[in-house]
Amino acid sequence: MIGEGPQFARLEVQIGRLLVAGVTISALLLAIGLGMWLFDPGRWNALWLLNAGLIVLMATPILRVLLSFAEYIAMRQWFFAAVTILVLLELTVTVVVALLKR
């Protein structure tokens, strides 16, 4: 039955690992960057680390959607793969608009 198979449980575990990795890496980058920035606000690498931390933070949910898409394709769950593509398209709009504004 849909929603009760072991594949769904596996996807949930994979997502959990991805989120832990994303939040840990971004917190580390932000903490180191902020420490360096407080020490000397003019340092370019302090701002670079802070921005990298924020980008990893923003990328984590996007990667979660990508991972789900790959898994739904592997599970041949076409309906949910299509739903996931819609979400990815919306996020692409945002990222493209943001990149054009830079």
């Binding site: 929603g3 902020l34 407080l38 924020l54 996007i62 949910f80 979400v87 945002t94």
Partner: protein
């Protein structure tokens, strides 16, 4: 933009910790507390405060969801379907937010804070809405082990269009005001759509990350996300929400909710007076 000093960064980090703690106590993100801290109390302009708060929403979502995975509480399929609507709401608000005046946003925030306070007051006695049946969960429903009753619970999702609509609105509100929006979705999902409370809360926690990411990059490109302040707020919220969850599990939630509803009413009144 104010001149950033280490003291200011420390204050923002502490605000994040306090807001995250208050949010964690109630099982919300801390956004609804962080925005007034940064804006009304600390003097950042509304859009900057909301954008920084929205960045912390992403962190809360990832951290909370990582702790919930593996228990079948997060309904990934329902979450993804509702994210189509909530991300659309986020993108729409993200694209239009720079054309809306701060005054209008502050008035809107007064309304949202009051609405959340009322929702909290009407749900004082409610902790679980679980229908224990043996029905077929359907393509969107699910099954999980309920620790309170000790048995397996099966549920079926009903009135999907209602859930989609509220998700779209929550996405809008989230992007405009820098809050997660779970407080708006969870009551609707539990009261009208047949989703058990704990599943609704866990699914919403996962959703708010993608919802926020649907607008944060635009606000980041617009220059509303100041990196040192956002970094400080994120670190504060991550620490604070952990503390809040710990205390929350040991405190009487009814009185907490009553207290927080009063705080939110005060926030709402403050915002109304500022904008009149």
């Amino acid at each position: 933009m104010i001149h950033l000093t280490p003291t200011i960064v420390a204050i923002v980090m502490a605000s994040g910790a306090v807001a995250g703690c208050m949010g964690g106590l109630l099982g919300l993100g801390g956004g609804v507390f962080l925005v007034p801290f940064l804006n009304a109390w600390f003097g950042l302009d509304f859009k900057t405060a909301a954008a920084i708060s929205l960045v912390t929403v992403i962190a809360t979502s990832s951290a909370v969801s990582a702790a919930t995975t593996g228990r079948n509480l997060i309904n990934l399929r329902l979450g993804m379907l509702l994210e189509v609507a909530s991300a659309a709401g986020g993108v729409a608000a993200g694209l239009t937010i720079s054309h809306v005046s701060d005054i209008a946003l502050e008035r809107g925030f007064a309304g949202v804070a009051a609405l959340i306070a009322v929702l909290m007051l009407t749900r004082l006695e409610r902790s679980n809405v679980i229908q224990d049946t043996t029905q077929d969960p359907g393509p969107l429903g699910g099954r999980f082990h309920d620790e309170e009753s000790g048995g397996d619970v099966i549920y079926r999702v009903r009135r999907l269009p209602v859930a989609m609509l509220v998700s779209f609105l929550a996405g809008n509100v989230s992007a405009a005001f820098g809050i997660g929006g779970g407080i708006l979705k969870v009551p609707v999902l539990t009261a009208w759509c047949g989703v058990p409370m704990r599943v609704a809360a866990a699914t919403s926690s996962l959703m708010i990350g993608v919802t926020a990411v649907a607008s944060v990059p635009i606000q980041y490109a617009n220059g509303y996300v100041n990196p040192p302040l956002a970094g400080a707020a994120v670190l504060g919220v991550l620490v604070g929400s952990r503390g809040g969850l710990w205390f929350g599990a040991r405190a009487r939630s009814k009185w907490l909710k009553l207290l927080m509803a009063m705080v939110l009413m005060l926030v709402s009144i403050t915002y109304l007076r500022r904008t009149l």
